[in-house]
């Protein structure tokens, strides 16, 4: 591993180290990540495990990390390779507290509430959820995507252990990235991984007829997440759901399996390019004349928001936030 540690851009090393040591990419405490569920008192055991992976909750912090990293290398806006990641971290003092402090309370609240809203929606539709609370670990999707194969092998075992403690048969994932890695990667790494993997969208779709109608004067366009559309092949479900709550949908020119990536995946290493890609996707979506962009992936949500112009009137929301409105009314 020595070679890798010196060869890789520091931001990757930070993410890797945090996942392996702290169970999430930003070294946040489990109790913080699970704080959204305090009032719900979800049981630890059950048939259906509600899995957040901390992904929505951590979003504003990841953005803050990216801007800190970008800021750190501001002169050249490039990251220094091979400089010994730990040195840089020590020198600049990037740590969870510093990043935590720079996140706005309103962002923290919004993203925390997404997991809460998702749980409420599923409960209202009649699903009985259990949740691992502060023991829940991030899926490790980034370890797998970034190529940390050795770390992923041992990390997956730890995660699987926690999942098994729930005694669940089915896991419902909020993030398509978690669903993908559980569905396609875990069975190869963990000998006994007996779970049925579903997504939030999938479960809602099955009981979509129970969703309350949503009254809105906004026109809606769907941004398909790459993972959801291509790997998990979930596209029509989103349209069906919106149809059953009585909301007409516009289609971007690139939609369903032809969807355009939000640029999120290379945000950590190439924030500038990622931003340009996101801006272009937002433009494609706005070309439809819609004023509300809906997506169903935490990284798409965050990347697209980052790609929005300052004086844009379009709103970007997660499907979870949008559907929750029906229950509030």
């Amino acid at each position: 591993m020595m070679a890798a540690e010196t060869k890789l851009p520091p931001v990757l090393e930070i993410i890797r180290g945090n996942i392996v040591k702290h169970g999430n990419p930003l070294a946040m405490k489990g109790s913080e990540v699970a704080a959204w569920a305090n009032a719900l008192k979800l049981p630890e055991h059950g048939d259906l495990l509600f899995y957040t992976g901390g992904e929505y909750q951590l979003l504003p912090f990841i953005d803050s990390l990216v801007s800190t990293m970008t800021h750190m290398d501001q002169g050249s806006k490039v990251f220094s390779l091979m400089m010994g990641a730990r040195n840089i971290i020590n020198k600049t003092g990037i740590n969870a507290e510093k990043i935590y402090a720079s996140v706005l309370a309103k962002d923290r609240e919004r993203f925390n509430s997404i997991s809460y809203k998702a749980a409420i929606i599923l409960q209202k539709l009649g699903y009985d959820l259990c949740y691992a609370g502060k023991k829940e670990l991030y899926s490790g999707a980034l370890l797998s995507e970034l190529g940390f194969c050795e770390d992923m092998e041992s990390y997956a075992l730890k995660v699987a252990e926690v999942l098994k403690q729930s005694r669940a048969k089915t896991i419902v994932c909020l993030s398509p990235h978690a669903a993908e890695v559980f569905k396609f990667v875990y069975p190869k790494l963990v000998k006994d991984f007996p779970f049925e993997i579903r997504t939030f969208v999938d479960l809602v779709w099955e009981k979509r007829h129970r969703l309350p109608a949503i009254k809105t004067d906004k026109t809606v366009v769907v941004h398909d997440s790459c993972r959801l559309a291509r790997e998990l092949e979930i596209t029509e479900e989103l349209r069906d759901i919106l149809q059953s709550v009585g909301v007409p949908v516009r289609e971007a020119m690139s939609n369903r399996q032809w969807t355009t990536c939000c640029g999120g995946p290379n945000k950590l290493l190439f924030p500038d390019v990622s931003h340009t890609v996101a801006t272009r996707r937002v433009e494609e979506l706005e070309e439809t004349g819609a004023d509300l962009i809906l997506t169903s992936c935490p990284y798409c949500l965050s990347a697209l928001q980052g790609g929005q112009g300052k004086d844009t009137k379009t709103v970007i929301e997660d499907l979870i936030e949008f559907l929750f409105r029906g229950f509030e009314a």
Partner: protein, 399 residues
């Protein structure tokens, strides 16, 4: 070690700059739109294409699995046709073989070839004291501008007509207005003279049929016809992955290639199997009638057979270089060929790792890829680039 850091940094700087370049944005947006429209239209007009693409996938995977036999057969066929066939195991060998055939002080006209880029062929031959002319209009523009291609099929995709006019005015030493027809005309006049005075013509090939030794070259401009027909010597440099068993199969690969390469129906498909010959006087076969008297084929490996041996990567050799994936790549759409090192975009990262620079050159590309997978939707060969990218990341990280 320090060099790698510099490379990554230079790459990133370049990429960032490209992503803010209005010329690239304008040019690629236009190109993407036209690619999608033309392709949709021609697939509509020739609806058998997707099925044929699937057949071609079978042909390619069978050909890669039997590559060494096919190579031998193709070389024998070329020799039987009175050409000369060579196998170059790496870049250096390929360059030396070519230089040995050509010598020094010659004039060379060259068709567009990604393999040529991979080998830095023009630069090498120039160093050996030859005059080399790129005859593809896009490549010609880049040659004058000392730039590398920004797309495998439309190399100068990022250069607008105003810039071309500026370049030509300087080079031809006369006022060339920013009018595309006039720009094309000055190059036509200039190169016409070169074709008929050149000593050697060089081309690549899109497909090779092992049974007949036929080289198939798709083009629109007609520059390949002239480069391979007018000079007394024709040298083909072609990657060993381009060989398929039979002529009939080669035709299928050709049709699928051009259809996804936005050619609709290409202006020309050249099929060249040997030197020019005649038996018209007393049935005595004489070589070099109207076309080249000498015909050489250099089959280049340069990492391809290593790639073929790797289960996770051999599929990348099915690539037809149609360029379709690049138009669909969200990163390529904003950076053009800056997301590349000789070979471009996701598939290019894989090729870079094996044949054009190795894992070090590929590393920045491998981490630039979004792994979004839209390229796979477009790819007629359904090459799973995102999964290869993930495997390459593992190699960078875990060694």
């Amino acid at each position: 070690m320090a060099d790698l850091q510099k490379e990554f940094n230079d790459y990133t700087k370049n990429l960032n700059k490209a992503s803010k370049d209005e010329n690239i944005k304008k040019a690629i947006t236009r190109a993407v739109k036209s690619y999608r429209e033309t392709t949709a239209e021609t697939l509509d007009r020739f609806p058998h294409t997707p099925e044929m693409a699937e057949e071609v996938r079978g042909i390619k995977s069978n050909s890669i699995a039997h590559n060494s036999e096919l190579l031998k057969q193709a070389m024998d066929s070329v020799e039987r046709n009175k050409g000369k066939a060579f196998y170059a195991k790496d870049k250096q060998e390929a360059l030396e073989m070519t230089a040995k055939i050509i010598g020094t002080g010659k004039t060379i006209v060259k068709g567009k070839s990604m393999l040529g880029e991979e080998l830095s062929l023009r630069e090498y031959l120039e160093e050996k004291g030859n005059e080399v002319w790129e005859t593809d209009l896009g490549e010609f523009i880049l040659q004058l501008n000392h730039e590398k291609p920004m797309h495998i099929l439309s190399p100068s995709i990022h250069v607008p007509r105003e810039k071309v006019a500026e370049l030509f005015t300087k080079f031809f030493n006369k006022e060339v207005p920013p009018d595309i027809a006039q720009e094309v005309a000055v190059v036509r006049d200039f190169l016409r003279e070169k074709y008929f005075t050149a000593d050697v013509g060089i081309s690549g090939a899109n497909v090779v049929a092992a049974d007949t030794g036929a080289m198939v070259i798709i083009e629109n401009e007609g520059n390949v016809r002239l480069s391979t027909g007018a000079p007394p010597v024709h040298i083909v440099l072609v990657g060993i992955e381009k060989i398929v068993p039979t002529f009939q199969e080669a035709m299928k690969v050709t049709e699928v290639t051009w259809r996804y390469a936005q050619y609709g129906v290409p202006g020309y498909v050249n099929i060249i199997s040997g030197p020019s010959k005649t038996g018209d006087i007393e049935k005595v076969t004489t070589y070099g009638a109207h076309g080249p008297k000498e015909f050489y084929v250099i089959f280049v490996d340069n990492g391809r057979s290593d790639m073929a041996k790797e289960e996770k990567f051999s599929e990348a050799l099915h690539c037809l270089r149609c360029g379709g994936c690049m138009y669909e790549c969200p990163v390529f759409q904003v950076t053009a060929g800056h997301f590349g090192h000789v070979y471009m975009s996701g598939i290019g990262a894989v090729w870079t790792a094996f044949v054009a620079g190795g894992l070090e050159k590929a590393a920045p590309l491998v981490f630039t890829c979004l792994r979004c997978g839209r390229c796979v939707e477009r790819c007629p060969m359904k090459i799973n680039v995102p999964s290869m990218i993930q495997k390459l990341r593992e190699r960078v990280v875990c060694g």
